[in-house]
């Protein structure tokens, strides 16, 4: 039986009068969604492996407000932002890493004007920097040579122009990286953004995640790599909808690396 993960909180650090190097912002999906929790744990394992001095907010963390803002509830968004910024500033946080592109975008771009200024990184960017600093080794392992395609999360790619960090990590895993017809700045959304995750779609002739899964299937991947818990859910559902769950896995980049390391 695996032992419980060691996940220090900011409160504990504070009690000891210490400050971690980086705050890991887990996000709502990463905290509560069963599938996303696995990504969270994989990332924590990698942080431990690389010897990163980190902490989480735990019960002091709250939704960034992204789904509220994009649904039009600016009021709720700013309430959430104000609460979170108060907590983050209270702990004098300087650097934030998160495995959710929505949290990443919101804290990085929308919090500064409201008084929250931090260096914010997406976990794939952070992992890449660990790799560059030699703290983390990423190599082939069991994914070597596997056919993998990367689905760009809108809020990492188009929204913030980061297309290469996740791909660089995948290349390090020595996988056969194949690109979909629609990728990078032309990538098709998984269908979850803008509050869609929490509601039924408007009438149409198809679900967006099915369309995107079909695009992924065109390149015949063994794994669809994702970098966002919401994309992950949407693509997993899409693969199930196509009855392909036995032959195609949907995995976060962090999970791929952790798995390759047998963590």
């Amino acid at each position: 039986m695996a032992e419980a993960l060691k996940v220090p909180t900011m409160a504990e650090y504070m009690a000891e009068g210490k400050k971690p190097e980086v705050l890991f912002w887990v996000g709502c999906a990463g905290s509560f969604d069963d599938r996303a929790k696995k990504i969270t744990k994989a990332f924590v394992k990698l942080l431990h492996e690389a010897g990163v001095d980190f902490a989480v907010l735990g019960t002091e963390e709250s939704c960034t407000g992204d789904p509220a803002k994009r649904s039009g509830n600016e009021f709720l968004f700013q309430m959430q932002a104000a609460t979170n910024i108060e907590v983050l500033n209270g702990y004098e946080i300087e650097k934030v890493v998160t495995a959710c592109p929505h949290c990443f975008n919101t804290i990085k771009n929308e919090y500064p004007a409201l008084g929250g200024n931090y260096e914010v990184m997406h976990h794939t960017q952070f992992l890449k920097s660990l790799l560059n600093e030699g703290k983390l080794k990423v190599e082939g392992g069991k994914f070597k040579g596997k056919r993998i395609t990367f689905h760009d999360p809108c809020y990492l790619g188009r929204a913030n122009g980061e297309y290469e960090a996740p791909r660089d990590l995948l290349r390090k895993l020595e996988v056969e990286l194949v690109e979909m017809r629609k990728c990078k700045s032309n990538g098709l959304c998984c269908g979850a953004g803008g509050g869609q995750m929490f509601k039924e779609p408007e009438p149409g002739n198809k679900d967006v995640n099915i369309e995107r899964t079909e695009q992924a299937m065109e390149v015949k991947p063994e794994v669809i790599a994702a970098g966002c818990p919401f994309c992950n859910t949407m693509m997993t559902d899409g693969v199930k909808g196509k009855n392909k769950e036995d032959s195609v896995e949907v995995m976060d980049v962090a999970e791929l690396i952790a798995n390759a390391h047998d963590l």
Partner: protein, 446 residues
């Protein structure tokens, strides 16, 4: 005789330009119906972006076929219009090819205009085929039925005619020069070089000088009147983009696409609520007597900002946004192009009321519901694909977001499940009904 022609030309020119100025004034007035927004920062970066995207057409060529053809038509059209300068001077002063004193260089100019005219003609014909005969997704949408489709075709016919007139004018002029006709022929020999229109000469074979002059004059007049007409047609057409693409890109958002503006009015209110020292009863007193409380979000064009209205006038109706839109691709009603077209239609409607009545009087309509449906707004995933795809720097998403803001904050009209998710966020700090105290439970689970 000559002097009458000169006077008529002057009248046409003044009328054409006068009408154009009137239209531009209306355009500016209508755009100013929107809220002010400060985009005076980062001038250098804005200029560079304009040079790259509007002048350099960097986004157009992302679709290689239409991009390449568009560059030809665009370059051709702009350069051939240098010739208009000469036409205007000749028309006003009754001269013949006034710029021909440039000698060899003039020949090169005229020759390249001719080559470009032919290329434009070919490009425009291919455009027509693409638009009318090939089933291209973005040309088939509902919002293109009727006027928008006709508008697109008219302009293609128009450009075809203009290019043909230009070549006919040159061909007959050349023939007249060869014939040694007075006013046309010059002692220095042939003025201009006619690599393309020379092939039209057989058509005019055997015609008398008088007939040739009539044809040449007719082509000359139709060409210049056509250009004046075109100038004034712009305001009513998607072709306004040939002028507005430049300011539109200049004023477009420079921040990361994912960043959506924070509403200052909300920030002020949240600050007041969070401030422990604030007297909760003092809040209303701060507002001026009789001042309307600020409206959140947009239900009509007056609530949008000036850049968003400029966007609507700049839209080329190309549909690149709609072709990339995940909602549209999966059969939802949302089409970002339609959002822009509706916005322009509504602002034009408001403008028409101001034209006739002197000021806006409520006509019982607004942008929301009468033009843009809620079903369209709620289908958006805020993925930014439309913004990325637009070749002229338009941001349809910002309008969608502002209208959602109105629906949620002014009308509490979010779809039910979304309203539940928001209540969850408010109460438990997550869109799902989990307790915030359980937020770290994952660390203990295996």
């Amino acid at each position: 005789m000559q002097i009458i022609a000169q006077v008529l030309f002057l009248v046409a020119l003044v009328a054409g330009i006068g009408f154009f100025i009137r239209n531009i004034r209306r355009l500016v007035r209508n755009i100013k119906l929107g809220k002010e927004v400060d985009r005076t920062d980062n001038k250098g970066e804005r200029f560079a972006k304009m040079a790259r995207i509007a002048f350099g057409q960097s986004k157009m060529v992302k679709k290689p076929v239409s991009g390449f053809l568009h560059v030809i038509v665009y370059v051709g059209f702009v350069i051939i219009n240098i010739e208009v300068l000469e036409i205007i001077i000749d028309g006003l002063f009754g001269t013949h090819r006034i710029l021909s004193f440039m000698g060899g260089f003039y020949d090169v100019l005229i020759a390249s205009f001719e080559v470009l005219a032919l290329l434009v003609l070919i490009g425009v014909i291919v455009f027509w085929i693409r638009r009318n005969l090939l089933n291209i997704y973005r040309f088939l949408s509902r919002e293109l039925k009727g006027w928008p489709k006709n508008d697109a075709n008219y302009i293609l016919y128009f450009e075809m005619v203009l290019m043909v007139l230009f070549l006919v004018m040159n061909a007959t002029d050349y023939q007249l020069q060869l014939n040694g006709a007075p006013h046309y022929a010059s002692e220095a020999g042939i003025t201009g070089a006619f690599p393309i229109s020379q092939f039209l000469l057989p058509i005019f074979d055997g015609m008398s000088n008088a007939t040739l002059i009539i044809i040449e004059r007719a082509a000359w007049w139709l060409h210049i009147l056509g250009i004046l007409f075109f100038l004034n047609y712009l305001y009513y057409s998607k072709h306004l983009h040939i002028l507005l693409a430049f300011p539109n890109v200049y004023f477009s958002k420079l921040r990361p696409q994912g960043e959506m503006n924070n509403l200052q009015s909300v920030t002020d209110e949240v600050k007041l609520m969070m401030d422990p020292d604030a007297d909760p009863f003092a809040a209303p007193a701060e507002e001026e007597e009789g001042a309307e409380p600020e409206k959140f979000g947009a239900s009509d064009v007056f609530d949008l900002n000036q850049v968003q209205l400029l966007n609507s006038y700049t839209c080329t109706e190309c549909g690149r946004c709609t072709a990339e839109c995940p909602a549209n691709q999966t059969g939802k009603k949302l089409s970002p192009r339609k959002i822009m077209m509706d916005t322009r239609d509504r602002v034009e409607e408001v403008g028409e009321i101001i034209n006739t009545k002197g000021k806006y009087e409520d006509n019982g309509k607004q942008l929301l519901d009468d033009f843009i449906l809620r079903e369209e707004l709620w289908a958006c995933t805020t993925c930014n694909a439309c913004v990325e795809a637009c070749p002229v720097g338009i941001d349809p998403l910002s309008i969608i977001l502002d209208m959602r803001r109105y629906l949620v904050m002014e009308e509490s009209a979010a779809p039910n499940e979304l309203a539940i998710a928001m209540t969850n966020i408010e109460n438990n700090g997550a869109p799902w009904p989990y307790n915030q105290q359980d937020r770290l439970n994952w660390a203990k689970e295996n």
